[in-house]
Amino acid sequence: MQQSAYMTSEAGAEFVTLLGEHQRLVYRIAGGYGRGRADVEDLAQEIAAQAWRAFGSYDPQRRFSTWLYRIALNVAISWLRTEGPRRRRSVPYDADLHEPAIHDEPDADDGIRILRGFIEAQSPLDRAVLLLYLEDRPQAEIAEILGITGTNLTTKINRLKERLKTYAEREHGTR
């Protein structure tokens, strides 16, 4: 279980600094799982809250980004499995709630539309592989974050490449 260690003001300040430096990471992962701006903001706050809870067990010898990616992805996948379907069922369309998420540019070109559609078409776990790949993380770090072997990761990335080709051809006639 995550230890909710007593946070001294020093630890709190350190956390705020680290989170500030990695805020883009939080929003990128939230943007990869949330559907609209309201989702992304809610998810980003949830990720930050869970990171704060677990900060007592953070080992400064290790990379903060790897630690934060794990939390962000675990929170986002759990959120997608529980909150995601519930919201889609119960929240009727509302322009204010369904403002574009980070990948929903109003003037989105074909590339962005393919990117958005392809991300949404992936299962929660494959989406994690895809997002970490898009984030340009080294394969060893991706494998460590996800808890799979390097060989398994290579296979999954190759499958994603194949799937993207098929997806782009089918959806947009793009090669």
């Binding site: 279980m1 995550q2 909710s4 705020v16 989170l19 500030g20 883009r24 929003y27 990128r28 943007g31 701006r37 992304v40 903001e41 980003a44 706050q45 930050a48 809250a49 869970q50 704060w52 809870r53 677990a54 067990s57 794990r70 939390i71 675990n74 929170v75 996948i77 759990s78 499995r81 980070i102 990948h103 540019e105 590339g111 962005i112 393919i114 990117l115 392809f118 299962s123 776990l125 494959d126 790949y133 898009l134 984030e135 340009d136 460590e144 974050i145 996800l146 808890g147 799979i148 072997t149 398994n152 296979t155 990335i157 994603l160 490449k161 993207l164 080709k165 782009a168 793009t174 090669r175």
Partner: protein
């Protein structure tokens, strides 16, 4: 289109991310204390209460049936309630163990497996508690009448006990049987039973576990 082209498109979205992070620079940290509660805390508290209630009942039931060894029907009723109390403790203990395994800082695959196992356990234990709560009604009545009035109900009205047991068995099993029937017919009734009996949760948990197993395989 190649995956690396997608990567450059992803990098182009920096402008949008910057806009969001600028807008909410302070929001993430300001709302921490309000939101930093673990979603599983209510589950943990509920499970601990389960264990405490189960332990109290187990002690009380043990003392009760051992004090009435000369009345077989009361002993059977007491042991039934005793076993139900132990079941309550076990359900709570397994749930606590599963909740304690959830640590979001661990690798994604490991934690998602723990969460799916917890979801499956929640749904399955609901079925067990549902059936048991119906079946123990005659035992609870027998014990209560003996405890409060000193009357052995089995000696006085055995047919009533048997009828009561049969009614409770039907009451417990009926939704499960109706659920099967509704599924053969399909439609809203089947969906309602799925929600009522948490079958959808079992199916969803199984789906998630299958997906995780597949993901773990190269």
């Amino acid at each position: 289109m190649e995956l690396d082209e997608l990567k450059s498109t992803w990098q182009r979205l920096d402008r949008r991310v910057d806009e969001l992070t600028r807008m909410h620079r302070s929001m993430l940290t300001h709302t921490l204390t309000r939101k930093a509660r673990w979603r599983l805390v209510p589950v943990l508290i509920g499970s601990v209460l389960n264990i405490i209630a189960g332990a109290i009942f187990a002690v009380a039931c043990g003392a009760f049936w051992s004090a009435h060894l000369d009345k077989p029907a009361v002993v059977v009723a007491g042991i039934t309630l005793h076993l139900a109390s132990i079941g309550l403790i076990l359900i709570g203990a397994v749930r606590v163990a599963l909740v304690l395994r959830v640590n979001y800082t661990q690798p994604v695959l490991e934690i998602q497996k723990s969460l799916a196992a917890l979801q499956a356990w929640e749904a399955r234990s609901f079925h067990a508690v549902w059936l048991a709560s119906w079946v123990i009604i005659p035992a609870a009545l027998t014990a209560a009448v003996m405890g409060l009035a000193g009357i052995d109900l089995w000696q006085v009205a055995p047919a009533w006990i048997v009828a009561n047991f049969a009614v409770c068995l039907v009451g417990g099993l009926a939704p499960l049987l109706l659920h099967r029937w509704a599924h053969r017919r399909g439609g809203k009734l089947a969906a309602w039973f799925d929600a009522f009996l948490m079958n959808r949760s079992v199916a969803r948990a199984k789906e998630a576990l299958d997906e995780l197993d597949e993901f773990a395989r190269p």
